[in-house]
């Protein structure tokens, strides 16, 4: 319910309540003759009435005597609060009193008056404040009617999966690193002991771009050259300098190893790679890879399997199976499968111990365990989709609903 001050109320708030003015006057003199007070105090009748009622003054012969000095003037406080829209701080008996003294009055809303007894669709804050909500009927809503769409913002579902994997690997003590998308063939292939004519280096498997890069690590360059000539009989130096779009995140591991002098080293990267594939439900020319390495003294094959078993947990399966595999840069090489209830064995990633032909030219003389996770597959599993292109979807409807 809303109230406003009456004209009288406004006047008292500005000039003081009559009984207050009376008391303040009497305070100076202790007592005063009625005839004087009638002249000095505005609205003396009212002042006298209330001051007597409250037991502050007493009439002795023709004089008024102050018998009790009041500590506060609650009506004045209440008026101020109502004026300042702080009505909730004023108790109900006070409101009654002020109404009785005609210092305040109820606010009358003519437009709300018209709504009395009618049905409203929207409950407004005015209806609540004025108390008129009591006088109206609030329209019933049918919960069966379909609503208008609301589209909140959302994080991309694939990014969410990537974040989960990232947090998971950090939890296992891996530190995240990043390497360039535009890469020198040398880091993507040659430093990983892939012979110059390896099939995965042809134009069907790597995107080439114009120009040559500069490998600043001259010593590593020479060592890699030596090992290729020794093992493969030749090395295409020009090919090694060519610029490409990175086709595997192992390139990042190679760059990090080249810089590493402190052990143990436990790193991972989750980033985009590019391959000139036919674009279909299973292949897209860009996708994310997640790769990591552990380098330290005394690491062995059992440790590799140990890490893989831990990493496999991100797939949500406890059961793992290891199979022999082949990668040009690892020996022994492993392929990991994870058992997922409804799907059976799912290929989860590849791993191995880096060949000495890879680590020695990079200046690393301890075992290096390397692994890669098939995170595109993992994301597709988690999101229940069968087409990889959804991960880079241009379909807003899907993104809004997924």
């Amino acid at each position: 319910m809303q109230y406003v001050l009456t004209e009288e109320g406004e006047k008292y708030l500005k000039n003081g309540l009559p009984e207050k003015n009376l008391v303040l006057y009497l305070e100076k003199f202790g007592k005063a003759p009625i005839s004087d007070l009638e002249k000095e105090i505005e609205n003396f009748d009212i002042a006298l009435l209330w001051a007597k009622k409250k037991g502050w003054v007493e009439l002795k012969f023709n004089e008024l005597v102050l018998i009790k000095k009041p500590e506060s003037f609650p009506e004045e406080d209440a008026l101020r609060k109502i004026k300042e829209n702080r009505i909730e701080e004023v108790d109900e008996s006070m409101i009654k009193l002020l109404l009785q003294r005609k210092l305040i009055q109820k606010v009358v809303y003519e437009h709300l008056e018209k709504l009395k007894g009618k049905e409203v669709t929207v409950l407004t804050s005015e209806l609540i404040k004025s108390g008129y909500w009591r006088e109206v009927k609030i329209k019933r809503f049918d919960a069966n009617i379909p609503p208008a769409e609301i589209y909140g913002g959302k994080i991309h579902p694939y990014i969410k999966v990537i974040r989960e994997i990232r947090e998971f690997l950090v939890g296992l003590g891996f530190k995240e690193v990043k390497g360039p998308l535009i890469e020198i063939n040398f880091w993507n292939c040659d430093a990983l002991f892939m012979p110059s004519d390896h099939p995965a280096r042809e134009i069907h498997d790597i995107f080439f771009i114009e120009g040559e890069g500069k490998v600043k690590e001259k010593k590593i360059w020479e060592e890699v050259k030596k090992i290729h000539k020794k093992r493969w009989g030749y090395w295409d130096e020009k090919l090694a300098k060519k610029l490409i779009l990175r086709s595997q995140c192992t390139a990042v591991s190679a760059r990090i190893l080249a810089k590493t002098r402190k052990l143990p080293l436990k790193i991972f990267t989750i980033d985009r790679v590019f391959r000139p594939d036919v674009i279909d439900a299973k292949h897209f020319i860009e996708f994310e890879q997640c790769e990591g390495i552990v380098a330290d003294k005394n690491l062995n094959f059992k440790h590799l399997l140990g890490y893989l078993k831990e990493i496999a947990k991100v797939f949500g399966g406890e059961d793992v199976m290891f199979k022999p595999s082949y990668f040009p840069f690892t020996e022994p090489s492993v392929e990991m499968y994870v058992k997922i209830n409804e799907l059976g064995w799912v290929e989860a990633g590849g791993a191995g111990i880096l060949r000495k032909e890879v680590t020695q030219p990079l200046g690393i003389n301890v075992p290096v365990l390397a692994w890669g996770l098939g995170i595109g597959r993992l994301a597709m599993l988690k999101l229940g989709i069968s087409d990889i292109r959804f991960l880079y979807s241009d379909n807003l409807k899907w993104l809004r609903e997924v």
Binding site: Y151, G153, I155, H156, I159, R166, E167, V170, L172, G173, K178, P180, L181, I182, E183, I184, D197, P199, I203, F207, F208, I209, E210, G213, K214, V215, L243, L245, P264, F274, P276, V278, I285, E286, D296, L299, N300, F301, K302, L305, G306, Y307, L308, K309, E310, F322, K323, P324, S325, Y326, E331, R355, K356, E357, Y392, S393, D394, L396, K397, L399
Partner: protein, 542 residues
């Protein structure tokens, strides 16, 4: 990874034992191959690129036979005393030849041999460049054989033709000639094998009709030629394995040129391994006899010394050249499933990249403002990122694109957003989207001639003007990046004149925002006003 299909009956005949599907599955699971399909009569396998010996049924059978503990017959190469004269032929300098005696060929076998030839050509032969195979009826060859360079006018009747053709015509007019001609066309002299009646083989293109193998062929002549000595040897040894497994007598020949060699080079490869090294790499200790047993399972001969073990790899295993390769075979024979996974005591603190943390903050901020995140390819095209945006620019271009949609790397994010909006004009508006992603700029000073920038871009497609809201959002993003922005009104062809501003932080331009030019909207067929911003988060250098 090559895929091969073997006939189960044939395979079991070669192995010498019939195996149930379950048994095959179990063995294959422990080896370097996967079963794609296993049917009533056939088995389809996916193999790894290193084990070329398993590409052929005979090699696969030998591998399985030894793995289940059966013995294989030793394959020997005899001396035929046959001499082949050779000239230097620079375009295909390496050759190996052999004679196979008393073969029995039927239609099926000839088809199988053709398939093997194709598979080896495509894989280790690198489409016939590094090595190519010719199979001939030895009895149709008359007199001495010579490998020489021929001029392009010399003639012979190639396989499948009725009349003689010049070598040049073979290149131009036959299907194989057109396909593989580029391997030799620029050479002065082209490689041929000839006998007293003339050319009977024109590697790596075609054999002759005269010496082709048929069901009546009794003795076979094999030629392997190529540009890589090791590959030529390798391919020849796989053929020796093929015919040797079938029990045929294989005879080598002497090839006389500047120097004399004997082919096939059927030589076993000994690798010495320190005993301690096996345990060091595998984390499991084995007794000498155990190691011997495991290596034999993988087809090795073994000599156990005091401190080391000598593992002798069969002549067809070209994937074995160091200790690690042998140790992997020990692990395979032992069974990957028999190792107990262990976690070492390597204590390290995990850490997310700082940039990813910042991006996550920005991501959550924008989601809070009601934006939907999108993830788009980094590859794009000239049309989308420049022409439709009404600007000129310079991007890094692919030399071998596979689709005209993806020909260059993106230099800014906004076109990715516009392209996204253009594909969703039937979805209810307002559409609020954002992307956090990498763009690539040419940079001559970088070691990769490029620099990569992590950026954020956001767009609101909705009727009404969102210029002010975009500015507010930019300020909020900048706060997350710890930057204070200053704005300067400017103009940009992609934006409406008078509704574009650049953002600066510490004098450096960090981004821009504004309302998209209706011409650009028309180009993308987006008929709803769009306000957008783009801001740099971090620059990377390799």
């Amino acid at each position: 990874m090559p895929t091969v299909t073997f006939n189960k009956k044939e395979l079991f005949k070669l192995i010498g034992k019939k195996l149930s599907d379950e048994e095959i599955k179990e063995i294959v699971n422990r080896l370097k191959c996967n079963i794609e399909e296993i049917g009533k009569d056939e088995i389809k396998l996916e193999l790894t690129a290193d084990r070329c010996d398993m590409f052929i049924m005979e090699g696969f059978a030998r591998c399985l036979r030894e793995f289940i503990g059966f013995d294989s017959k030793e394959i020997k190469v005899y001396n035929s005393n046959f001499v082949i004269k050779r000239e230097e032929v620079p375009v295909r300098p390496f050759i190996a030849c052999a004679i196979v005696r008393d073969v029995k060929l039927d239609e099926e076998m000839i088809k199988y041999l053709m398939n093997v030839q194709e598979l080896l050509h495509e894989t280790i032969g690198r489409k016939r460049r590094k090595a190519a195979i010719g199979l001939h009826d030895f009895d149709k060859i008359e007199g001495k054989i010579e490998y020489r360079g021929a001029s392009r006018n010399e003639k012979f009747t190639p396989l499948g033709e009725k009349e003689e053709m010049s070598l040049l015509d073979v290149l131009v007019k036959t299907e194989k000639g057109r396909k593989y001609g580029e391997l030799i066309i620029n050479a002065n002299k082209w490689p041929v094998f000839a006998d007293e009646r003339g050319i009977f083989s024109f590697p790596p293109i075609l054999n002759s009709e005269r010496t082709k193998i048929t069901e009546n062929t009794k003795n076979m002549f094999i030629d392997v030629t190529g540009t890589d000595e090791n590959t030529v040897k390798h391919v020849m040894n796989i053929l020796v394995l093929l015919f040797g497994e079938r029990g045929y007598r294989i005879e080598g020949v002497r090839i006389k040129g500047k120097r004399e060699i004997f082919t096939p080079t059927w030589i076993e490869k000994p690798i010495e391994i320190e005993k301690g090294e096996i345990e060091k790499i595998l984390g499991e200790s084995f007794s000498d006899s155990e190691i011997e047993r495991l290596l034999r399972k993988m087809g090795y001969k073994v000599f156990v010394g005091k401190k080391s073990i000598i593992a002798i790899a069969p002549p067809y295993r070209f994937d074995i050249f160091s200790e690690a390769d042998v140790i992997e075979d020990i692990a395979i024979a032992y069974g990957y499933g028999n190792f107990t996974p262990e976690l070492p005591n390597v204590f390290t603190k995990g850490e997310v990249l700082e940039i990813e943390k910042i991006c996550n903050d920005v991501r959550e901020l924008l989601v809070g403002f009601g934006f939907q995140e999108i993830v788009r390819p980094i590859l794009t095209n000239e049309e989308i990122q420049f022409k439709k945006m009404l600007i000129k620019g310079n991007a890094i271009k692919l030399k071998n694109p596979v689709s005209e949609l993806y020909t260059q790397t993106r230099t800014w994010l906004l076109p990715s957003l516009m392209d996204f909006l253009s594909k969703n004009t039937n979805e209810p508006y307002p559409q609020r989207i954002f992307e956090i992603g990498d763009v690539v700029m040419p940079d001559e000073n970088s070691e990769t001639r490029a620099k990569e920038i992590r950026k954020v871009a956001a767009a609101i497609a909705s009727s009404g003007s969102f210029f002010a809201e975009m500015k507010k959002i930019a300020i909020e993003i900048a706060k997350k990046l710890g930057k204070k922005l200053e704005f300067k009104n400017d103009s940009h062809p992609s934006f409406i004149e008078g509704r574009f501003a650049r953002m600066y932080s510490d004098e450096e331009e960090v981004g821009f925002f504004g309302e998209i030019n209706p011409l650009v909207l028309e180009n993308f067929k987006v008929y709803t006003p769009v306000a957008a911003l783009e801001m740099k988060i971090l620059e990377f250098n390799p």
